[in-house]
Symmetry: C2
Subunit: 228 residues, 2 copies
DNA sequence: CGAATAGTGTCTTTAAGACACTATTGA
DNA sequence: TCAATAGTGTCTTAAAGACACTATTCG
């Protein structure tokens, strides 16, 4: 049976928190179209590769994540598929976008084919003209991320293995771009069964009373949700 | 630039309510693989066609919806993309699934290439072995539909232009497979700004006090949500 | 009339938000 | 000591659910 041939790619919206800002991984394009412009990382799906595997592979190539158990600490989910016939001037391309949440990773970002990769503050990225329809993909990814924090425990994937309630609150504040009452937030998180588990340890990293340390709990969904 | 060629299709999960049951549109496959088996409707995306347009076209071909203003009364959204390398034994295929909600349509369902199309109760469809990975797509679509009723006004798209609060409640009960207190539901819907608008008319279709008729309101989101 | 459904009111419980207050650190 | 942050308690308000009660129809 004959069928119209398409190129299928995956594009990644990878969020992390760096320097007190929500950041997204971008690359500088090395070739036309949009040569020299900023874009989301991504690439072709291989002939015998599942879509999620392709996304994980690209993520590993761009960030070094996935080498060992690191992948376990990254959340990766399908975001949506973008297939406007004019989205890529070279050929008919359908791109399956994936959304990733990562704790601050080891600094190095070694692109393979990409000229350079960097963590760009989302606030900047939203006002930058990204290649292809990547501006739309980023906007959709941000909205998905914001919604997911409400009813899942995924905020904790932005934190290191051990974190304080304040760290977790900070994730919500940066992603939602709001301020949250520390006292009410504290109570809500502790009341949410399986969200965080105390380690028994404490931090003494700065001024103020030391905070207890926690690890991620078993729960994936929040009942009740933490609303924006 | 060389790239691996993929076939790209759209598959549809079309829900409606018929005979007091949540039903999904299925077709009987006319050719191999899975000839004679049940499948979700769908087809190839055309070389210069947007994905959403392809989904709308397939929906129109299978249901007759979309001829006129009918499309306005159908909700269509992207559900997810399925691209396991083994999902279609004939070729490497990526399918973009769309989810549709429709009020009970005019009975006729004229498939073009499909051997036959029918409204199958979802309860049956979930236990039927559908072609390809359509069982998974259906399950994902059902979960998405259930979630959407919570925080959007989309339940009303299952109703005819004019409907009663009881009709709307019935949608929730059938999709969620629960029973809902009619009195609390009534209050909640009326308190939800923009969910429904009274027409001033009444029904007198059976035993009991006649109910007021409503049309869909302007709101798309529910604040607060109606929880499962 | 009684059964059935529409629609309103009221009470209890749960959770959100505001905010007073205590606890424990570093400068 | 004070400033800063961690953590607890309490009050008010909003919303969910249980359910009594009234309203209006058909048989």
């Amino acid at each position: 049976m004959a069928f119209p041939p398409f190129a299928v790619t995956v594009d990644l919206v990878v969020f992390t928190i760096r320097d007190d800002q929500l950041c997204v991984l971008t690359i500088e394009r090395g070739e036309a179209p949009f040569a020299g412009g900023q874009a989301l990382p991504g690439g072709f799906v291989l002939p015998d590769e599942d879509l999620a595997d392709a996304a994980a592979r690209e993520l590993a190539e761009e960030t070094g994540v996935g080498k060992d158990a690191e992948l376990e600490r990254v959340h990766l989910e399908q975001l949506g598929t973008y297939g406007d016939p004019t989205r890529d001037p070279r050929m008919r391309t359908v791109s399956v976008a994936y959304l990733a949440f990562a704790a601050q990773l080891s600094e190095p970002i070694a692109g393979t084919d990409a000229a350079a990769a960097q963590w760009m503050p989302v606030a900047s990225a939203l006002t930058t003209s990204l290649a292809f329809d990547h501006g739309q993909i980023l906007a959709d990814g941000l909205e998905r991320a914001r919604a997911k924090l409400e009813y899942t425990t995924l905020a904790a994937t932005f934190c290191r293995d051990e974190f304080t309630i304040a760290d977790l609150r900070h994730v919500y504040e940066l992603v939602w771009d709001v301020t949250i009452d520390p006292r009410n937030f504290h109570r809500k998180v502790l009341a949410s069964e399986g969200f965080v588990e105390p380690t028994g340890e404490q931090t003494s990293q700065g001024r103020g009373r030391p905070a207890q340390l926690f690890t991620r709990g078993d729960a994936t969904q929040l009942h009740p949700p933490i609303r924006r």
